[in-house]
């Protein structure tokens, strides 16, 4: 059929149809394009996440394995003064026993024993001391102690240092590597899960450093934060949303709360420094102080989350309660708050999880210090997980870098747990329709 056979009206109709089809095709193309962009964005985001987590995991997983050596130690009666046990050099004694076991002898300058001491943890010497303290009759006998290798030696067993590594980069001499091979071949060295990392606190020796102190410190600090921020935030939000008159003052307050939520966290650290330390004289570096600062930091977020959860409760529920003669308080506490609960819980837990990972304000209040023990009270010096990560990251020893990644893993595990709790609480409360 040719164009000439068509009447003008038919031609116009046909043209309109092809135009409509073209438009339709364009719309489908636009949608397909948009989907593609969306998928690309998600894939990109996931790639970043996988790279990040993968890097942390790869760098950190080896921390959870450590190598322990068991050595027979000849306790030389001539070198132990029972009246002053601590005065003896047990590390040297351990090193000499190890040398003897490997069929070598110390040289007059003590170079061999000193090299041996730098592959065996000082923990072994302390163990000998503890055993002698408990039972002085062991003097002159041979006792077997079991303890960690120095971190560098462990790195060699883990394959992170090899003979090919240049000597300056591995901090282990060829002779030490020979000993390590020999000890392994004799079956003196066993690898296992690194309980030390979970059961000890910070130490100058990487093989004896652990996250327990930081975990407990974080828990205590978060306890203070939750105890303060959750009730204050929820009550403030409830009052502002349900009871406060809507006037200039409440507008000013609302704007300021929103602004506070955007204030950089380090400013809260400065505030803590000025108010809590200089004015209220709260002990610095304590979980109480950190908790107070983080509570201030979390308050705006909690208030905003709670307010939006309250606003999401349909007004018809409030009207229903008021219409049967419930007072405002009864309306809020019997009907509105229970309905807003899942949203409030999620907001509170997420902002606490955020507080758990906060570092900057804690640096301002002096929480960045070497704390080798578990904090005993809320006012004793403590360190927390993110700060511990920060400290280890700055350490020069190679083994601390591996521990940095491992501490990040521990922190992430706690984050995931908290978010999981948020999800579970949400599900649970929402099930009540």
């Amino acid at each position: 059929m040719t164009d000439a056979a068509l009447t003008p009206a038919q031609a116009a109709k046909a043209r309109a149809r092809t135009e409509a089809e073209a438009r339709l095709k364009r719309r489908y193309r636009a949608e397909a394009r948009f989907r593609l962009y969306g998928r690309a964005a998600i894939i990109l985001a996931l790639t970043f996440l996988v790279v990040l987590l993968g890097r942390i995991g790869l760098q950190g997983y080896s921390t959870f394995v450590d190598y322990r050596v068991s050595l027979p130690v000849q306790v030389d009666a001539n070198r132990v003064n029972l009246a002053d046990l601590g005065g003896s050099n047990f590390n040297l004694m351990v090193a000499e026993s190890a040398l003897a076991m490997l069929g070598e002898e110390d040289d007059p300058y003590g170079q061999a024993s000193s090299q041996m001491m730098s592959i065996l943890s000082g923990d072994l010497g302390f163990q000998v001391l503890d055993r002698l303290r408990a039972d002085p009759s062991l003097v002159g006998q041979t006792i077997t102690v079991q303890g960690p290798m120095k971190a560098n030696a462990s790195l060699y067993y883990k394959g992170q240092i090899s003979r090919d590594t240049e000597v300056g980069g591995r901090l282990l001499s060829d002779r030490q590597l020979d000993w390590l091979d020999e000890l392994r071949d004799q079956g003196r060295v066993t690898g296992g899960f690194n309980w030390t990392f979970l059961s000890r606190s910070d130490s100058t020796e990487p093989e004896q450093a652990g996250v327990l102190g930081a975990v407990i410190g974080s828990a205590m600090m978060l306890f203070v934060t939750a105890l303060l921020a959750a009730p204050i935030g929820v009550l403030a939000a409830t009052y502002l949303e349900e009871f406060a008159p809507k006037n200039r003052w409440t507008d000013v307050i609302e704007v300021n709360i929103n602004n506070l939520a955007a204030v950089p966290s380090i400013i809260y650290g400065l505030l803590g420094l000025a108010v809590f330390i200089n004015w209220l004289a709260i002990p610095r570096s304590s979980p109480l102080l950190g908790g107070l600062v983080l509570a201030l930091m979390s308050l705006p977020t909690i208030i905003i989350a709670t307010r939006s959860a309250l606003r999401a409760v349909p007004p018809s529920i409030r009207e229903a309660a008021l219409a049967v003669g419930a007072s405002r308080t009864q309306t809020v506490f019997h009907h509105v708050l229970p309905l807003a609960m899942p949203g409030m819980m999620t907001g509170v837990i997420l902002s606490l999880a955020h507080a758990l990972g906060e570092t900057a304000p804690l640096l301002m209040i002096g929480m960045v210090s070497f704390v080798p023990g578990v904090p005993e009270t809320l006012t004793s010096a403590a360190t927390v997980l993110p700060v511990q990560i920060f400290i280890w990251e700055n350490a020069s020893e190679r083994a601390f870098h591996e521990r940095t990644a491992a501490a990040i893993i521990v922190l992430l595990v706690f984050m995931v747990l908290m978010n999981l709790v948020a999800v579970i609480l949400r599900r649970r409360f929402e099930r009540r329709w």
Partner: protein, 272 residues
């Protein structure tokens, strides 16, 4: 411009005839302001006991605003101000001595959209009596719930699942549940704000039947957009237009022999 509008509306209010029936609820010169904007202009209306008073009129004419004055629900709207007097049994509801919370127990309200609490059917009805301390024991409370549900015509449908969520009921059932909830606190007046607008005709018929039953015990004020419904359920009708009552009187008279042309136009569907 506002002043001119005020004048015409005031004129409309003046021509509105005063109802001769003595009211259980009696409003005189009620004006409502939402901030700067005036929503009601000197409304005077009597709503007799044991009768259904229908408030009709085009959207935005102030029917619901007026209804919400009777149980002081307007208090909950920020910036709302009510002038004039609303007398229930000789007592002004806007009197300082009247507690709005107790007033709302005496004046129940049913809303446009069914709004049961997200709790069980039993809890929905039991909530009012519980907070007002109407029941001293569990069995007493159960009795109140049962009788309220019976009076709302819902008992047969829900007696075997009182612990099911109130929101699991159908729209019409939910609306009857809400009516049962209102009845449970033994009100004297029941206000209904377009109670059937979200319901299908069958559910609407059931609610209308229920309203007719309840009439023997309560003073009922109902806002409706349906002329037919007003004619079916009410004994008295007030026609609202632009924030004022244009005409009020016996329903038969309003529908068969309206005195004001605006009423006639609205009823016959010429505007609104």
């Amino acid at each position: 411009m506002t002043a001119q509008r005020d004048d015409t509306l005031a004129a409309g209010a003046v021509t509105a005839p005063r109802s001769s029936a003595t009211g259980k609820v009696s409003a005189s010169d009620v004006s409502v302001f939402y901030g700067e904007k005036q929503a009601l202009f000197d409304v005077s209306l009597d709503m007799p006991d044991r009768m259904v008073t229908a408030l009709i009129g085009p959207s935005g004419c102030g029917k619901s605003t007026f209804l919400r004055c009777i149980n002081r629900m307007n208090d909950t709207i920020p910036g709302a101000r009510v002038n004039g007097r609303i007398i229930i049994d000789g007592e002004d509801v806007n009197d300082r001595q009247v507690d709005p919370v107790l007033l709302r127990a005496r004046v129940g309200m049913v809303f446009q959209k069914p709004n049961p609490f997200p709790k069980s059917i039993f809890e929905n009805v039991a909530y009012g009596p519980r907070i007002h301390g109407f029941a001293t024991s569990k069995s007493e409370l159960a009795d109140i719930v049962e009788s309220s549900l019976k009076r709302a015509g819902l008992w047969k449908e829900v007696s075997d699942r009182l612990l099911a969520p109130g929101t699991s009921l159908s729209g019409g059932q939910q609306q009857r549940l809400v009516i049962a909830r209102a009845i449970a606190v033994s009100p004297e007046v029941i206000l209904m704000d377009e109670p059937c607008s979200a319901l299908d005709p069958i559910a609407t018929a059931k609610i209308e039947e229920l309203i007719d039953d309840l009439r023997s015990q309560y003073c009922i004020v109902i806002v409706t957009h349906s002329m037919a419904q007003a004619a079916r359920v009410s004994q008295r009708t007030a026609f609202f237009h632009m924030g004022a009552v244009v005409e009020a009187g016996a329903t038969d008279e309003i529908f068969t022999n309206p005195r004001d042309t605006r009423t006639q136009d609205y009823i016959t569907g010429r505007f609104g």
